[in-house]
Homo-oligomer: 197 residues x 2
Amino acid sequence: MTEEFFEKKLAAQPIAAIPGMIAFDIPVHGDNRGWFKENFQKEKMLPLGFPESFFKEDKLQNNVSLSRKGVLRGLHAEPWDKYISVADNGRVLGSWVDLREGDSFGHVYQTVIDASKGIYVPRGVANGFQVLSETVSYSYLVNDYWALDLKPKYAFVNYADLALGIEWHDVENAEVSEADKNHPLLKDVVPLTKEQL
Amino acid sequence: MTEEFFEKKLAAQPIAAIPGMIAFDIPVHGDNRGWFKENFQKEKMLPLGFPESFFKEDKLQNNVSLSRKGVLRGLHAEPWDKYISVADNGRVLGSWVDLREGDSFGHVYQTVIDASKGIYVPRGVANGFQVLSETVSYSYLVNDYWALDLKPKYAFVNYADLALGIEWHDVENAEVSEADKNHPLLKDVVPLTKEQL
Ligand SMILES: Cc1cn([C@H]2C[C@H](O)[C@@H](COP(=O)(O)OP(=O)(O)O[C@H]3O[C@H](CO)[C@@H](O)[C@H](O)[C@H]3O)O2)c(=O)[nH]c1=O
Ligand SMILES: Cc1cn([C@H]2C[C@H](O)[C@@H](COP(=O)(O)OP(=O)(O)O[C@H]3O[C@H](CO)[C@@H](O)[C@H](O)[C@H]3O)O2)c(=O)[nH]c1=O
């Protein structure tokens, strides 16, 4: 843990490569017990650019996954928005690929995130990460509901596609799901239309 | 981790001692990467009794704290509702004390929670926990906004009050905040009125 982790000022930084994506600095307060953070605080984050549209349909789901070092999950684009965060002392290499039709199709953004970061990912942008710490708790909010039988309608791109230029660590030995091994290369992905999102 | 942890059926159990409190069983799906859970899923949990009133004012905050073994936080009652969970492989001894005026004032509930549990705590019920694992990530949703200068208006009861009958582990050596050491005994707590909540 570097000094950089604690007491950042709450701030938002739009990600130029992927329109609508926003990286938040989250203040983490440390003391004798550990630390505390307001991971999401609607009243403070809306004025900084967190989209009000996230709450438009009054739907809310909070997902949490626990993953071991070397695990790689992704890259998945679904018809809902995501607000992504790390909920413990872990770190991930987060990667995102724009799968929406238009000028930014195929654009990639990657950055290391720990608990002092929050990432807003608009619908249609594929989301993935690789675990850099021994374990990581990865927690996110979404505004629509997943269903197994809708999975064929979601869009995916293969994490191992070299055309993406993502700098994974030792990707050959990454622990992944069978499903994630079989997603298409970017060149075979049909861009998501506005109607699909 | 016992077998009990994985693949519970989503279910809700009202806590008789404290009206409005609900314990949820949360399905946790394990695989080669770790696990995944829908920690909160509005559409599935409202029909099971998660109060629709939680969303009445369209306010939302997600807090996350990371604590080491032996840390004890609490007991705090604020004028907002809480949905509480564990976001990693850790475990806590959760404890709750009803500070609302009425028949259930002073009623206590305690239970061990891990990631396969979610606890709904209505406003006016004091919330606390002690960490049983090496570390724990504790994550919760609230529906109103904390402010330092409002702290005098929040209600607290001293975790060490023997009258509560809470079975903490080695409470003398618990790692706590200075503030938590100085909260009143139950007998000195002024019950919270409906108007205060
Ligand atoms: C996304 C989702 C999944 N599941 C179930 C299905 C499986 O039993 C288990 C894991 O699902 P998978 O489809 O393998 O999830 P995974 O590959 O980890 O990907 C999801 O989880 C990742 C990590 O939390 C996210 O980064 C991805 O955006 C998300 O799609 O959880 C649910 O019950 N609800 C869900 O919302
Ligand atoms: C509750 C709250 C606190 N803070 C700041 C104030 C301090 O710098 C730091 C820790 O605050 P404390 O008042 O010591 O929090 P703590 O004793 O851990 O208790 C809070 O956090 C606990 C654990 O997450 C909860 O179980 C309690 O209900 C909640 O009141 O976080 C915020 O910035 N926002 C908040 O909402």
